[in-house]
Amino acid sequence: MTLAELKRGQQAIITDVSSIHIPLKLLEMGCLPGNSVELVQVAPFADPMYLNINGSHLAIRKETAIHIIIETVHE
């Protein structure tokens, strides 16, 4: 599934990022395969998304999130 489908409070691991569609800046902020991601809060219409990626708190738009592939973690 993609990051855009993540629900609030759910934990996931990034498995792949489409480096052509993702700004380098986002990669540099820790959005890399293997890192954990959690949805902290969503704005109305689920856009933008407020995430905790590998300890970095940041907001990205849904149009970016669809290019990040994740796997949810079951606890």
Partner: protein, 699 residues
Amino acid sequence: MSKQINVALIGNPNTGKTSVFNALTGLNQKVGNYPGITVEKKEGICKLPRGVKAHIIDLPGTYSLNASSLDENVVIELLLNKNGKDYPDLAVVVSDVENLKRNLLLFTQIKDLEIPTILVINMSDRMAYKGITLDIAYLEKELKTKIALISTRKNKGISELKELLTHYKEISAEPCLNASEIDTSYFNNLRKAFPNQLLYKLWLVITQDVNFGKTDRKTYDAVEDFKTKSKADLKRLQQKETIKRYQFINETLKKGQTIDLKSAKDLRIKLDRILTHKVWGYLIFAVILLTIFQAIYDWSSVPMDFIDSSFAALSEWVKVTLPEGAFTNLLAEGIISGLGGIVIFIPQIAFLFLFISILEESGYMSRVVFLMDRIMRRFGLSGKSVVPLISGTACAIPAIMATRNIESWKERLITILVTPFTTCSARLPVYLIIIALVIPEGRVLGLSYQALTLMLLYLIGFGAAVGSAWILHKIMGQKSKSFFVVEMPNYKLPLLKNVALTVLEKTKAFVFGAGKIILAISIVLWFLASYGPGDNFNNAENIVTEKYASQNLSEDELNQKIESQKLEHSYIGIAGHAIEPAIRPLGYDWKIGIAIVSSFAAREVFVGTLATIYSVGSDEEETIKNRMAGEVNPILGGPLFNFASGISLLLFYAFAMQCMSTLAIVKKETNSWKWPLYQLVIMSGFAYLVALVAYQVLI
């Protein structure tokens, strides 16, 4: 002999880099622009032990050396240009103890440039709170650097940092990892081709899309031929590089940092649950905006009235004290009133930036962007455009200055261009008097027509701003695809020192930047209103005295008539007459023409000018209103200020760019006369058209 070294302060946004800068330099700092661009350049002097002086440059905050904005470009250009006058002898990378992992990415990049680098770990006061412990000796060894563990909030570790700066010669310039391992053969070829160049520097030049300045252009041109890899390949390599750097950082921190999650507390989650909530979030933001609005609109009126009356008194005093003559008039009516016209804006600017810097410092501004992004994005604006647009309702000048924190140039430019449409407080006197004249007093549903008209004018202003933003957004297109990545920093109590310095700096920037232009234009306008050609102006006293000789007027009344005669025949008066043919289709006469020309200085001058022309002498609104109501249209007969011409005038003032101070600040903020001229021509042209249509339809 004292020696001066160049120190560059580098760091991610929200690491307290500016606090470190303020702690090191205090008031010994100045803010300017990098040549040719609007990126702020902050520099200051720090006196170190043993007679060493450090010239410190606070570089714009950046997450990495791969630039994605003009601000970040400045950082790279400065660090790559070895011959530049600001090239650092020493780099100080400021990091936040809570985000060490991410902050170290930039650190490893700076180290690859082989510049001696100190690592500052800021906010150390939060370590216990977050359960973090650091093995400084281990980190220093692995990162090949010296570490200063400081807290600008608690004022700790600053003298240790200064001590490190003094021993800048002992700081290692060695890289801490070998990033070229990501593609050994490619980098070996690169090294063979350019044996004299730093490998990482070549790599940065190859991968950057941004335009570099003139800095050793030759190398770059040679590199152009060496782009043996496709863009996509390069990007994949950059991703590999980033992963490689993070591997090193993770390894290092695994041993050098321990985080005890059990003792970690998080206020962020609780606050964010409310502040970014779908309902409460917006409500709280609305309350904050109302408070800001109230402050600039209402609270600042007290100091503004004081400034106004002080300058008026000073001007009067000069006129009485100095011998009569052209120089005294220039000083009293030109220069002093001109200066007053600049100083009057200070309370509003100070209030707005007080609030904005508190919002920025506390971390709340990022939440605003998060909340407003989706709404504002449709109009080509940023979530951060909300604050300028709302504060434009008080005054466009501080509002336009407040666009500085919008990262995307396109979004910032659009915000600057459309903000003057919002109904600023200077429009209010004009609106009030015309509404009182032409809108009947009745009520509908308990609301007076006059109040509804005023509200409608505010809505029209806001609509024009948002609408034109949308049009500009469509015209400019998606030239630079703007990626939206906003860091949501931790909440912090704002530091008083940082807030105070921001307010001081913004006020200074206005007074010495735009102030010069405002003063120059007001002197010109004063001259045009105080001098005129020919007998009608120069002999005004005699002409008026003769004309009214039989009417037995009091001295005051006579003086008012003289003033009126002078204004009519001054250069501005002549201009008013000259534009009459152009404004007659709008329902105005030459007197309104004069008021329009002279209120180019500031909209509220409109009322005062009409008072002089009608020689009512006092600024009393009721008196002017009665006098205006009695004006007769010279061609059609009937009252000059009727419903049609009144609406036409209201709409003209709603849209026209009648404010030289705004133009001056736009010139300063965009660094070019192009944008303010566009604004002037387009806004005033549009205003003319709308006013024309309105009058012709309604008459």
